[in-house]
């Protein structure tokens, strides 16, 4: 059932030109150089320290690594992180 729905969504995205983050509930990540990272559609903070932020996603987690991290704003589905970002990794569980 879930598989079918995912395929329908994928088809809608490709053929109806709907944005993928809306249709498939994927995170939308906006980065400004290394300074800011703005993530929409996250599912909560898993771990947070000076050098690393781990965010829960609908599927899997997102690791953001760097230094001098500060969460400027955090809302139920959005987060703005400031610092020096060195890497953004996806990890599918």
């Amino acid at each position: 059932m879930g598989k079918l729905r995912q395929q329908v969504n994928k088809w809608m995205m490709q053929n109806l030109e709907l944005p993928a983050d809306v249709v498939m509930d994927l995170p939308r990540i906006t980065m400004i150089g290394q300074l800011h990272i703005y993530i929409e559609n996250h599912r909560g903070v898993k771990a947070f320290s000076n050098e690393q932020l781990t965010l829960k996603l609908k599927q899997g987690v997102l690791h953001i690594k760097g230094s001098e991290f500060v969460i400027k704003t955090i809302l139920p589905e959005e987060i703005l992180l400031e610092g020096t970002i060195s890497s953004v990794d996806f990890e599918n569980e």
Partner: protein, 396 residues
């Protein structure tokens, strides 16, 4: 924008001590408590900003997660005000200083009178006091300069004109006094001469030798009564005195329009009060326009001053008065009648008090462009004598 709002409401920087601060963040967000500027210090400490209104709810969540809280900084307007209130004496002093400066700079400090002699100055100051122009009065409570000037000029009758100017906190009255020449008793020898072209009507000589008789025609400047009397060989000099009445013709032109429209006030009026802020007029009291069909509006602005600077706000009083249009029309005969009266009035302004109008005649009259134009001739009997001193030749 959001951070500005938080700043206004006030927020605290708190240190959260204990493991697993991320679960605290998640719970907070899910229960609608907003957090920002989250800065991890080390493994079990993090610095977080929370708005004041959310702090109680955050505390209970912290208890559930077995975390400790320590308030580090209090930021935003409420805390700033609280801190400032500790130095309230300082603030009150500053405010009262501004208030005092404001009040003092809207007070009359000085009244100068120039151009008046001590007596007139005393009277003027007294009249000014009656109008309320007193040292220590607030300027914004007084009528404006124009009105003061008009009222003062009306009150003082030995003064031709009073100029009222306001320089900051001082009023200056410039006075032009009426010069009432004292009738000088001429004692020196003199002739009497004619002031204008005339036919002599009657002669009354107190002193001197009359030269002219009744019905004589005299030109301007011709000798009427000589100050030389006695024998021709040995004349005596006297101060000639007398009244010579002459018949003088005057010509006056008047125009009377047949149709005239006037505006009169009906007596109904409405006042509106405004406070002007940076050129924007905010109505304060009196909101109806009066619903008058015809009206005139007068604006009366009294600006406020702080020291020498005009403040961007002022008090404006708007007076709306109902007017009524009245039309007046004359027939031709009426217009001529009115014209005659007008001409006579105009003439009597020019004539000395003791002159007498003996006869009048319509010289020309024509109607054009809705106007009656009259040229009137008047026969006036007036005193035409004026003194002319006789130069005394020295050494004779």
């Amino acid at each position: 924008m959001k951070t500005k709002w938080n700043h206004l409401k006030g927020y605290v920087r708190v240190e959260i001590i204990g493991q697993d601060s991320s679960s605290f963040i998640n719970t907070c967000i899910q229960s609608g408590i907003s957090l920002w500027d989250i800065q991890p210090l080390d493994d079990n400490r993090a610095l977080v900003s929370i708005s004041v209104s959310d702090i109680q709810r955050a505390r209970s969540i912290l208890k559930e997660n077995k975390l400790k809280i320590r308030i580090k900084e209090k930021k935003g307007t409420p805390f700033l005000l609280k801190r400032m209130w500790k130095r309230n004496g300082f603030i009150l002093g500053m405010l009262s200083f501004i208030c005092l400066l404001f009040l003092l700079s809207n007070m009359i400090w000085n009244i100068n009178v120039t151009g008046a002699n001590p007596k007139t100055e005393y009277e003027l100051r007294k009249a000014a006091v009656e109008l309320g122009v007193i040292k220590g009065k607030f300027i914004f409570l007084l009528p404006n300069v124009r009105e003061i000037q008009r009222d003062l000029t009306e009150k003082m009758d030995n003064v031709t004109w009073i100029g009222v100017t306001q320089h900051g906190t001082s009023y200056r009255f410039e006075v032009v006094e009426k010069e009432i020449p004292e009738a000088k008793q001429v004692t020196g020898p003199r002739h009497l001469v004619a002031t204008k072209e005339a036919v002599i009507h009657s002669v009354f000589v107190e002193k001197g030798q009359p030269i002219v008789g009744v019905n004589d025609y005299v030109k301007k400047g011709s000798l009427l009564v000589s100050g030389l009397i006695g024998k021709e060989k040995k004349p005596q000099l006297v101060s000639a005195k007398g009244e010579i009445w002459g018949e003088v013709w005057y010509q006056t032109e008047v125009e009377v329009p047949l149709n005239t429209s006037f505006q009169t006030y009906t007596g109904k009026s409405k006042n509106r009060h405004y406070v002007s802020l940076f050129g924007l007029n905010v109505p304060v009291y009196g909101f109806s326009e009066g619903e008058f069909k015809d009206k005139t509006e007068t604006l009366n602005e009294s600006p406020l001053y702080l020291a020498k600077w005009k403040m961007p706000f002022s008090y404006i009083k708007k007076e709306i008065r109902e007017t009524d249009g009245v039309k007046r029309s004359y027939s031709k005969a009426e217009a001529i009648e009115v014209g005659k009266k007008m001409a006579k009035k105009e003439l009597s302004k020019k004539l000395p008090h003791d002159a007498k109008i003996n006869g009048e005649k319509v010289w020309q009259q024509n109607v054009s462009n809705g106007k009656v134009k009259l040229t009137m001739l008047y026969q006036v009997i007036e005193n035409i004598a004026s003194a002319q001193p006789i130069p005394i030749q020295q050494g004779e």
